[in-house]
């Protein structure tokens, strides 16, 4: 048993070990000279088309948008022309510091998306892993059919699926009819703005949602009261969460499936010989080997979820009661609905910052602890070597 808890990954040839190995060789101090003169120039020349494309289509538009977010551009003519006033951080201050509707709306959108991400990312990762394991079974009948079926939502247009869900989740739609068979009166999904946490707190008679305690209702952070921050996703948002989990888990299933098929059989066989049961094999053998894929799926999931737009644009347009407003959708309506392009651009940069921070946090939490220990030891060793050298 004890031997199982530290999986024998050596010689496994899994992506985990090979990725770690690729990272390990440190660049020696002092630059390595090319074998031939002009090698660097040739390298730049060969990569020039890609570099130019990246600059023209990625870097330049980003810098232009950054500039727009710092101006008071009204959307008339070029934002780079002479008459456009420079606004400095005003647009950012409006979103983050200055009390007012702009900040309230933006913070509402952040709250909504925070709950959305908190539910979507774990659910879609878990479901994707589960589906991958199911269709990876060698004994499963009709594997190809199930693989196609699970992957199908991912290749269908998100617009079509959103409209489909719109019909399924109407008050008298398929979902509520099904719930009716088991005696549950379903909510009017996309019109229901009640927060899930509010409903739970109210249902357990801890707090009355119609008159929340003053400690929560009268104090707050960044323009929203604590009570509003603690709303949880609204019923409407929950329906969107279900839609997104259903559509994206197919894609991520594919990533997990590819990794699972690459896992060495002998490791699993030896763990069976060691007497590990199904759960132990999953937790201590399979999952540790899938760490790079889990990291990839969570990272992609985080980035994608924070940018949620299509489903909201089609289904709810931020309603009911702003409970499905997302920063990406708010940025669009602020820019094109209200012609406040600078404020809209500023929102997208704040969103960008949030995504970067979240990804870094997630990277830190999911870091390979063994790898970190090794690296720290290596660093210590080098430092001591240097000290000896200078002494």
């Amino acid at each position: 048993m004890a031997s199982v808890s530290t999986p024998p990954v050596v010689g496994g040839g899994s992506a985990a070990t090979s990725a770690a190995a690729a990272r390990r060789p440190r660049r020696p101090l002092g630059r390595r000279r090319g074998r031939y003169p002009g090698e660097a120039t040739a390298g730049w020349l060969f990569s020039a088309p890609a570099v130019v494309l990246l600059i023209v289509f990625l870097l330049v538009p980003i810098l232009m948008a950054l500039w727009v977010s710092l101006t008071g551009w009204t959307g008339q003519g070029s934002p780079f022309a002479g008459g456009v006033p420079f606004a400095g951080g005003t647009n950012y201050a409006q979103l983050l510091v200055r009390p007012g509707l702009e900040r309230e709306d933006f913070m509402t959108s952040i709250r909504n998306t925070l709950y959305y991400v908190l539910l979507v990312v774990p659910l879609q990762t878990g479901l994707a892993l589960f589906l991958a394991m199911v269709v990876n079974q060698r004994r499963l009948m009709g594997r190809t059919f199930f693989r196609t079926a699970f992957y199908f939502p991912s290749v269908t247009s998100s617009v079509a699926i959103s409209i489909l869900f719109l019909f399924m989740f109407t008050g008298t739609g398929a979902i509520n009819t099904l719930l009716g068979f088991v005696g549950i009166r379903g909510p009017s999904w996309f019109n229901d703005s009640d927060g899930l946490l509010h409903l739970i707190l109210g249902g357990l008679h801890i707090v009355d949602p119609n008159s929340p305690p003053g400690a929560l209702a009268n104090h707050g952070l960044l323009g929203l009261s604590w009570w509003e921050w603690l709303s949880g996703p609204s019923v409407a948002m929950c329906a969107i969460i279900m839609l997104v989990v259903w559509t994206t888990s197919g894609t991520f299933m594919l990533i997990f499936l590819a990794a699972l098929q690459d896992l060495p059989m002998d490791v699993e066989e030896s763990s069976i010989l060691d007497g590990a049961n199904v759960w132990q094999r999953l937790w201590h053998v399979t999952l540790p080997q899938l760490r790079p894929q889990v990291f990839l799926v969570i990272t992609l999931g985080l980035i994608g979820s924070w940018q949620v737009f299509d489903q909201i644009f089609i289904i709810s347009q931020g309603g009911p009661d702003k409970t499905t407003l997302s920063p990406a959708y708010l940025s669009y309506t602020t820019g094109f609905g209200d012609q406040q392009y600078p404020a809209g651009a500023a929102m997208s940069f704040v969103l960008f910052a949030i995504i970067v921070v979240m990804t870094l946090v997630q990277r830190f939490l999911l870091r390979d602890k063994d790898d970190g220990r090794e690296r720290r030891a290596e660093r210590r060793l080098r430092r001591s070597m240097r000290r000896e050298g200078t002494a």
Partner: protein, 413 residues
């Protein structure tokens, strides 16, 4: 090479990108310069937000006829999403010459100098309804010629109406009578009134109470006693179960609530006629004017104008085109083709003759008020809509003082 190479290369790339960005920028003209006007035959670009194939075809046909008789060229393009397409066109310095402009957006565009204020240069401008001219007037300037308009009225399911024992004599003229009618319908177990949860419906009561969201000089005036009175009346209807928002009935808008028989009455404009005809042909309905409030009759008006961009190089041809499109005969032709109400008073009599069912809508014209005429308030109004959906639970004065605060900060005092 030294260890500095990496940051240096990064800086070089950034600098190159910045130069490129500046280069892209310099490709445009500088802002706010009036373009030199061209002479001779013009080629006009016209962007329309079409309600459907019928409208597109009718406008294209009218534009072609004008182009032929005047020796110009006119290209009509129906927009998929006119807000976004106009925004991109203005940002790219290539706006269409003439375009549909909604009254709720006029202040946005006028405040940044995007519109050419030609309102008084068209033929017989005083023939347009005064309320429509007001809707397209920003800071004292009449910007553009109204294309057509609609007003709100009561749309009543006649079967459910008579089921409650009501007759034509009961058609409400006052708020009190309206309440009594609704109570009689409710007594039969029918939802009496369904309204879309939007200020574009509820504000009709504000007009009837003599209030407004923004006063004539463009200052926020949302927390007036008249407005409180109006919302208190609406709140009373909601609390007594005499009125429900269409979303509470699981319908997308008032017309759907009426068409599916979930409510006996709704408040909508003449666009409901097309929807009833195509989606709910079995429902019999009649249209009545909105009831009068404490300050007399009142309704809301929705209208679009023929916007002309300030940057167009063909202003003379633009105005000639608008003259052709707003000519009395042409307006009647449009009315026939795609069911809009002409914006000129001189054709009202003819129109009423041809479309007698629209009489109730036309009756609202002198007492109507256009959308909130102030720039950059759509987020404020969206927030107001959210507050309105909660009206049964909150206090009208709280809703209105919040609106007043937000308007004041959006309009800068």
């Amino acid at each position: 090479m030294s260890r500095m190479t990496r940051p240096l290369a990064g800086a070089a790339v950034l600098a190159a990108a910045a130069l490129l960005a500046a280069g892209c920028g310099s490709g445009f003209n500088s802002n706010n310069s009036q373009p030199a006007q061209k002479t001779g035959p013009a080629s006009l670009q016209i962007l329309i937000a079409s309600s459907g194939d019928a409208e597109t075809a009718a406008v294209k046909q009218a534009a072609a006829a004008w182009a032929k008789s005047s020796g110009n060229k006119a290209t009509v393009t129906p927009a998929q999403n006119i807000d976004q397409q106009l925004g991109q066109a203005f940002a790219g310095n290539k706006p269409p010459d003439v375009f549909y402009m909604d009254a709720s957006k006029v202040a946005d565009y006028a405040s940044v100098g995007a519109l050419y204020p030609y309102g008084n240069k068209v033929n017989n401008p005083n023939d347009f309804y005064p309320t429509l001219r007001a809707a397209f007037t920003y800071k004292g300037t009449f910007y553009c010629a109204p294309k057509d308009f609609s007003t709100l009225g009561l749309v009543i399911n006649t079967d459910l109406w008579s089921k409650a024992g009501l007759t034509d004599a009961d058609l409400p003229t006052t708020w009190n009578q309206f309440t009594t009618d609704l109570q009689k319908i409710k007594a039969k177990g029918i939802v009496p009134l369904a309204v879309s949860p939007s200020h574009d419906r509820v504000d009709a009561f504000i007009k009837e109470a003599g209030g407004s969201i923004v006063d004539k000089s463009g200052k926020p005036d949302a927390d007036s006693p008249q407005n409180v009175q109006a919302l208190t009346y609406v709140q009373g209807l909601l609390k007594q179960g005499l009125m429900k928002y269409s979303s509470q009935l699981d319908t997308g808008w008032g017309g759907e609530a009426l068409g599916t028989g979930k409510a006996a009455i709704t408040i909508e404009g003449n666009w409901i006629e097309g929807a009833m005809k195509s989606d709910y042909p079995k429902i019999k309905y009649e249209i009545a004017p909105m009831p009068s409030g404490p300050a007399g009759p009142g309704t809301l008006e929705f209208t679009q104008c023929w916007g002309v961009s300030a940057k167009s190089k063909n202003h003379a041809a633009d105005i000639a085109f608008v003259n052709a499109m707003t000519a009395p005969q042409q307006q009647l032709a449009f009315a026939k083709a795609f069911g809009v109400i002409p914006s000129r008073q001189s054709v009202q009599a003819t129109y009423e003759q041809q479309f007698p069912t629209d009489k109730a809508f036309l009756a609202g014209a002198p007492n109507g008020v256009g959308p909130v005429n102030a720039p950059k308030v759509s987020d404020v109004l969206a927030d107001y809509d959210t507050q309105l959906t909660q009206l049964a639970k909150t206090s009208p004065s709280a809703v209105l003082s919040r609106l007043q605060t937000n308007l004041t900060s959006a309009l800068g005092g």
